[in-house]
Point group: C2
Chain length 662, copies 2
């Protein structure tokens, strides 16, 4: 049902991604927030002080900037890099820097940005085309290899950077470059009968959501139509019906997520942008259906997405391996970007649940605590004595990658994170994510103080509110939360009597400055089990606390590895504050043991017998581990779990999220 | 300790692979056998009547023969095929055909062989070089890309085919081609200081074991030295210390198998050949160490090898996934070839145990019952609703492959299978594998009748024996066998009193024609569990009977899939003869149920609670499945298991080897 929102567009100062047009068809409208202290503030400081400033040097060393100069004719040499999409590393860094500049002036960063924008502009060809690989390596053979060439993918990231830069600074220089390229693409691509020379799509979606954002920024409807054309042409065989490239089936007919995870998620973000701007119900239904299929059957506990190393793609339903989980950092980022669009489109709290889970786990693990090293792949297990002869880098942080898509992608999400926190509608303000800072919307400003995720108390104070009418303050009660209390003036509620509907705690008042709301989310550590169809974790539990997934690391368990460890789920979990460890964390301590595993002669498979299976002494029926192991046997051991996001920041070693219970 | 065998070389008629020289240092010497009827006879008939005769047509259709003509200048056109090693499909087919001709004259097959050998000979260059890819596509740029070029790998398969053809027919035509190529390689490759222009190794081992066989066939020591040079130069960085290509570490220092599975196994076959021919104890120790590391930690229940799709390589120890098991058919073949060499070198029975397991399961699954369709990848699980958008072909039999290494490899093993069955030493005859047929060695001939693997009775009759002295008949008691009886004349033994040492039942007698030995192996179906470090199968059992691993297929379980099935391990297993099914099989029937799994809202992970875990009603402590499932709940179901080798011969559907017990 089309809906004309009565709330105004976001204030001019709030430069961030995803700015629906005033006439968009959506339930919620993004609203400004600021992050002033606490968990995410610290991460953003590291991003601003370490990761972002190191970017230009890394892009210089890897040859990305050299390639731009080469394309501009201002230097000599040969193309550096192994992929046709290396330009996007520059564009994503520019986007990240732009969001950063929107928050705080930074002369050095601004100078880097201007310098690099000049390189980009100089490399652009007179007709608007820009791709250093094709200009330098492929002799300008444009659009001959849409499946693997990534030309429109690169254009998409250029456009997103330009939109960010324009929103953040008001300067038109990069936007002019992007518009020239977009107009060029618009002149080249179109459906049969349109008079355009080419009917085609890019093997890696990205141009679609970028064009939607360019429409939002410029108001030029052609860009939205072009985005719609590209989205619609997926699934019709232009790329051989290849699932990897999102061409097996039209999106509106798809029943599950499939193919290359990042490609799928960027395409779905674009589809959501289109549903938002056009109000098309069939497209919206597809996005809701596919999000549900993804979360119910193809999402790791960490929010990680993509089961296969082989093609960086989704597997079958419930195929969620641990050590070979691919869970590309970029897929986590794409999931946040898409889920936020879904939250705005539908108004539902569960999208914020997945965003929270992804941010604190599958996404944040992608960058080291010091902001200098990265994970491309985010497994849920690293075995004792793991070796990486294939060089898949799944268990070792790396300074930069030959395919360096993830690091600047992390930077742009961290630099724009405050834009994924809060929204407004006709009736008030919604808080999707909890930080120390301020939330502003529908005329009211609320400040928040919290030590979340270490502490479950969030103290909200109304700083400013016109007393013209009542408004609803909506607080997301996280999906993981079993107990909470909320005090609002003289009222107090808990899980049994709080006005919660579909994950939103709705507090309706005529708010006045000084009003206080204190939400206390119980943060007892907990054990989590999986649907029994997730074969990879049968007989295992995971430790969680609040939004954090925990893992064991070898560094905390001297005297052995982790592959022979068993957790006793009948013993209570304990919590320890460790301000000294891993940048300051809370650990969870569990009781367990080390198995005694007799040496196999030469074959690790043995006759099953209920009599010697674990747990069999009392039931005689359950248990399935090696027949030769006696129940309960083994050395007792205190298991210390650390947050998953902090793993791989000490010496190399094994790691496990899922722990056997017998 | 070097050892000069007193037994003579194998009789001239026994044309098969692996013919150690008379002065080789080995415990056992291969001996002739014939397969006259029964299980493997039927498979070999299909191989001889369907698979082999179809080869030339398939090689013509795929362009392999065209490429040879093109290289010879006898036709026009362009190179067909996507890989530099397509010539090996021809060579492996020739090898298979040669072994087949050694068994029975076949004019049509012989004509095909002669015709194709003529094509090969005509394509060879004057200096002995032969590789159609490099001659036609790479403008003769020889040996510039040893890592990926496969030139020596192709040479290796040519040599193996030539050795087979010469042994089988006595004709020198293909051997002449191979010798010219080998001499060319010998003139080009050598260590620094040798005066040869190139110091290098091939990224895909195969030349090494082929040269050892060429030495055996020709007596020319240079070929063994060249094989030793290639083996020795692996692991020294000639290929960038790449584990995939077996260049990370010298073989004599390696502690586990790693990298591309087939590459690793072919190299180890060569190392075993060298240890056999030279008596080098350090090399022998490495092969024994690596075989043990492989079987204890990196072998699937089916004998399948190679955990990763990504690089067709070995994973970490105990990383043995089910649906993403790679288990390439060629790796199973390579494992049989290597393990047989180890059996001869060491005299130990366990190598025959692994050969048996591999033949009946991981290998045989690679070819369809009708001999016309193939599996490249042999997973242990296919999920309900499995899709294969990435085209990895892991669950669907295919008529031929773009990379068609496996089909002719299956053909050559089946056509030479009788050469992996029996051996002799100073003291008698060893039977490693049981078939209906004859075993000959150390002067005696024994006939055997058996319905193995369906029936465990093997009836042996001495057909011929000089009564000059006593000899030991050694019968391998399979590793899986828990109970057996053996009658030998008036003697009768069972497990408790039989003269079994290290897997060999040793019967020492002065044998006379008409003597009878009847071995009865108990074939009760059994449940098997894995070492608890094999995370992928925690909480599961597999059904086995005799040497056969069983699986469930969706075709036998209408009304649902397999992913919600639970096996009750407390209920007995039953056996049913099904001569009508899948070419005639024995099925195993187990009791189980279908779970009732409540719909997840949108997240498949739920709080673990001992109170609602399976098995908890009695113990309160065990069980880990989804919290919302009640113990024992679900529709009772009779589970019908079929031999794994026979899977994927009916309609597409799900399949499972490992079955949850709760």
């Amino acid at each position: 049902m089309p809906r004309t929102p009565s709330v105004p567009p976001s204030p001019a100062g709030a430069a961030g991604p995803v700015r629906p047009r005033p006439d968009a068809h959506l339930a919620l409208r993004p609203a400004p927030a600021a992050i002033d202290a606490g968990f995410w503030h610290d991460r953003r400081e590291t991003n601003a002080r370490t990761s972002l400033p190191q970017g230009p040097g890394l892009l210089e060393a890897a040859g990305n900037l050299h390639n731009l100069r080469l394309a501009a004719g201002s230097t000599e040499g040969t193309f550096q890099g192994a992929y046709p999409f290396v330009d996007t590393d520059v564009y994503k860094w520019l986007e990240a820097a732009a969001w950063q500049l929107a928050q705080a002036p930074d002369d050095a960063l601004a100078a880097d940005v201007d310098r690099i924008i000049a390189l980009v502009a100089a490399a652009q060809q007179p007709d608007g085309y820009l791709n250093t690989w094709f200009q330098l390596v492929k002799d300008g053979e444009r659009y001959q290899d849409l499946r693997w060439g990534h030309e429109l993918y690169c254009a998409g990231h250029l456009i997103q950077a330009a939109v960010a830069h324009h929103r953040a600074t008001g300067h038109p220089d990069l936007l002019d470059v992007a518009v020239r390229f977009a107009d060029h693409i618009d002149a080249v691509f179109g459906p049969p009968g349109s008079g355009r020379p080419l009917d085609g799509i890019d093997g890696h979606p990205e141009i679609e959501t970028a064009l939607a954002e360019l429409y939002r920024e410029t108001g030029e409807r052609r860009y939205l139509d072009l985005a719609a054309y590209f989205v619609d042409r997926h699934g019709h065989g232009l790329l051989g019906h290849d699932a990897y490239c999102q061409d097996r089936v039209p999106l509106r007919e798809a029943t599950t997520v499939e193919g290359h995870a990042v490609r799928q998620l960027y395409l779905l973000a674009a589809a959501t942008d289109l549903a938002t701007e056009t109000g098309e119900s069939r497209l919206r239904a597809a996005t809701e259906r596919l999000w549900h299929a993804m979360t119910t059957t193809k999402t790791h506990l960490t929010g990680g997405l993509g089961a296969h190393h082989d093609q960086e793609d989704f597997g079958d339903p419930y195929e969620l391996p641990n050590e070979r989980a691919y869970c590309e950092t970029c897929a986590a980022i794409a999931c946040v970007q898409w889920s936020w669009r879904m939250a705005l489109l539908t108004g539902e709290a569960r999208y914020g649940d997945l965003i929270e889970r992804t941010l604190y786990n599958g996404f944040l693990a992608g960058v080291s605590l010091d902001g200098e090293r990265w994970l491309y792949v985010n497994p849920l297990q690293v075995r004792d004595g793991h070796t990486d002869p294939g060089g898949d880098q799944s268990a070792r942080r790396t300074r930069w990658f030959r395919c360096a898509c993830c690091p600047p992608n992390v930077m742009r999400l961290l630099a724009s994170l405050e834009h994924y926190l809060t929204s407004t509608d006709d009736d008030g303000l919604q808080i999707h994510q909890y930080v120390t800072g301020t939330y502003t919307g529908d005329g009211i400003t609320i400040s928040a103080r919290t030590d979340y995720p270490w502490n479950g108390t969030i103290a909200l104070t109304v700083e400013d509110a016109p007393e013209d009418r009542s408004r609803t303050l909506s607080l997301r009660i996280p999906h993981w939360c079993r107990e909470f209390r909320v005090r609002c003036g003289d009222d107090s509620y808990d899980r049994t009597d709080a006005p919660v509907t579909d994950g939103w705690l709705r507090l309706r008042r005529v708010w006045a400055p000084g009003d206080q709301v204190v939400l206390e989310l119980a943060l007892d550590p907990r054990l989590t089990a999986a649907d029994p169809r997730v074969d990879a974790v049968r007989g295992c539990v995971a430790i969680e606390r609040g939004p954090l997934v925990y893992c064991l690391e070898q560094a905390d368990h001297p005297g052995g590895g982790l592959d022979d460890i068993v957790l006793d789920p009948t013993r209570p979990l304990a919590v320890k504050q460790r301000p000294d460890q891993l940048g300051g964390i809370t650990t969870v301590v569990a009781a367990g043991r080390r198995r005694r595993i007799p040496d196999a002669d030469w074959w690790p498979y043995t006759p099953y017998s209920p009599l010697n299976a674990p747990g069999s002494s009392s039931t005689g029926t359950t248990g399935t581990a090696a027949a030769a192991e006696s129940p309960g046997e083994g050395e007792p051991l205190e298991l210390t779990a650390v947050p998953y996001y902090a793993w791989a920041n000490r010496e190399d070693g094994s790691m496990r999220v899922w722990l056997p219970t017998s």
